[in-house]
Each structure stands twice: as C-alpha cells, then as structure tokens.
Symmetry: C3
Subunit: 134 residues, 3 copies
C-alpha cells in the first residue's frame, strides 16, 4: 500500500489524483487487478467524475453545499462541521478502479478525485493494489 | 474482465444487470471471491437496491431528480447535465458483491442496477472478478 | 466470509461494527489485504464516519431524514419505505477497508457503521477478506 498526501486550499475542493494512482501501478508492475483508493478522513472522501470541464467540479461542490448547508440550527456536533461528515458519507470513503495491462481502466471523461469538505488542510489517502492470482 | 453493453431508453433509468454478472461468474468458474461492477461514464452509476416492486425504481429516480433538479440557474457546466454528474457521485461508479459457491451473495430483495442519469444512450459497464487465493 | 447479525432498536440508527470486522481479521490471521463489509438489505447500508462524538451520528441521520422525508405524497411504493431505499443507495451497500499488519487501516476518527433506515429489525451483514497473493 502507498500513503500519499494532498494539500487542499479551500473548504470544499476536488483534487484530481488519477496520475498518482497510475504512477503507483507502474511502480509495482501490476498488470491485472483492482486499485482501491481510500480516504482516512471523516470530512473528506473519494469520488470519480468528469476530468474535462472544470465547471463540473464547481457545480458538484456548490450543489452538495446547497444540499448540506454548513450552518444548520438543529446540528448538535460541537465542531460545527456536520455538513462535511454528510458529504463524506454521500460520495464515499473509497473508490475501486480496474487495472488492465498495467493501466487504470477509466472512462474517457473519468478522473479520480480526493474530495475536501472541511479544508484547507493537509490530507492523506491510501492506494492499495490487489493483483489477480496467476 | 468483461465489457458489457446496455441500451437505455429514458433520461433516468435503472436497468437490472444481476443476471449478466451471475452469468460471467459461471463462465469463469470462480467459486469464492468478489465481483466488482464498474461504470466508466460520469453521468451514470451502479447501485444495489430492490428487485421486486418496480415502483421502488420509479420513486428512487423521481426523488433523486427532486434533490438534483435538471435545471439550476447557478450551474456553470455548458453541457447542462450537472444534475447527472451529481447523481453519479451520489450512487457511486461501482459496487462490489461477494461470490460464494459460484454465486453472487445478494440479499433476498437485492438486484444490481446500471443507473442511467443522462439517457437515452448506448452505455458500457465492466465486470471484474477477484478470486480468493488458494 | 463471515455472516454477522445486528439488532437495531430505532427506525434510523448507526451501529459501530468496527470491532467485529477487526475480530474476524484476527481469527483468519490475514496480514495484508482488503476487507469488504456488505449489507444484504435494501433499506440499510454500510458507511464509514466519525467514531468519537455521538452527535455526529444523530446529525447525519437527522439530515438524511430531512433530505429524504419518510412521507412523500408522490411515492408509489406500497410498503411506504421509499425514503429508506434512497438512504441505502446514498450511503452504499458496502465499504472496503485496507488491512495492514493484521489490522484495519482506519483514520484516527473513523469507524465502520451498519446503517439502519427502516428499523427496528434483526439485520445481517457479511465480512469478506481478500488476502494479498504471496
């Protein structure tokens, strides 16, 4: 497994980590299998979405914020970041991607994103590769 | 891995692909392991939900549409399908299911669904099986 | 694979099952790999979120309920639990966690939760471990 770090610069952010995952696959030499990308934070997550028009990221983060507004009079959690916990469980803590012929099998417009929902912070994520048995 | 195709007929649709996944398990002869079902599109996804009453699918798609209305004055993405991208990240790009004794281990009411959020289109999905090591 | 049971006591509930997953890893002796925690019910799910302040769970369940109110005049599903089906597809039917040196690799504040959305009931979940090939 590999630990990677990412520095987020806004409260809500999506950072494309596709290249990092692909690089690790090349380092290990794995040809066929699955990559698991995992976020160890409860106010962040991993998602797969469009890598072409940057406005998609902006729309996704803004609409998630409308769904889970930061301030909510009924929230009890003292830290005040309940909305970030909900966004985390909505997009999910991890994603899996197929590996074929030593490469990630992504759709033409797909990228793997680290999602920050309570930044800016120094964050971590883990990449784990499961190779097919021979 | 196996590439499968699916033809969707509406903008929002849930197509039961459970039989396709089970068929591939039988073809490979894998007895114990995990099946990964992966969607390579950013305006579609994979989910697991009820396979009995078809009204559940209708309710799910209608309520997701209420949550993420197609038209939104603040959306910036020129293609106009921001809502579909949000639904994709909400249900997720993939699902994993256990394989035991050569069969998918699903709950009594569970089916595996390809979720179309920007159809109708010709779509693809991938099935990857990871066998236990002996 | 291991089948575990959980008794839920409320309509909406999050039950920390981290210890059960860790216990099973110890029983099998697996040192490196992945744990898949799977929910076979269509009105429940699995998520990973904060294990420290119990108010986070209360806020998550209450906000999900605001998003997917139990009663909705347009719902067609006769059982009347459409909201639970939507919550299930939102948090997801399963989660994956890395195993390293015989232990779950969770973030400092992360726990694995069985999410009940239509309780109280007697529920099941499955744990499946995939060991690295040697």
């Amino acid at each position: 497994m590999k630990k990677s770090t990412v520095k987020t610069t806004k409260r809500d952010d999506m950072i494309d980590i596709t290249t990092e995952v692909q690089k690790y696959i090349l380092e290990t030499g794995i040809q066929e299998g699955i990559a698991l990308v995992y976020c160890p934070h409860t106010t962040a997550g991993i998602t797969i979405n469009e890598n072409a028009d940057p406005d998609v990221k902006k729309d996704i983060l803004r609409r998630l914020d409308e769904l889970f507004p930061w301030n909510h009079t009924l929230d009890m959690h003292m830290e005040g970041n309940t909305a970030a916990h909900l966004k985390s469980s909505t997009v999910g803590s991890s994603q899996q991607i197929l590996i074929h012929k030593g490469s990630l099998v992504l759709g033409r417009w797909q990228g793997v994103y680290f999602c920050e929902f309570d930044g800016p912070r120094d964050r971590q994520y883990f990449i784990k590769l499961i190779a097919d048995k021979d």
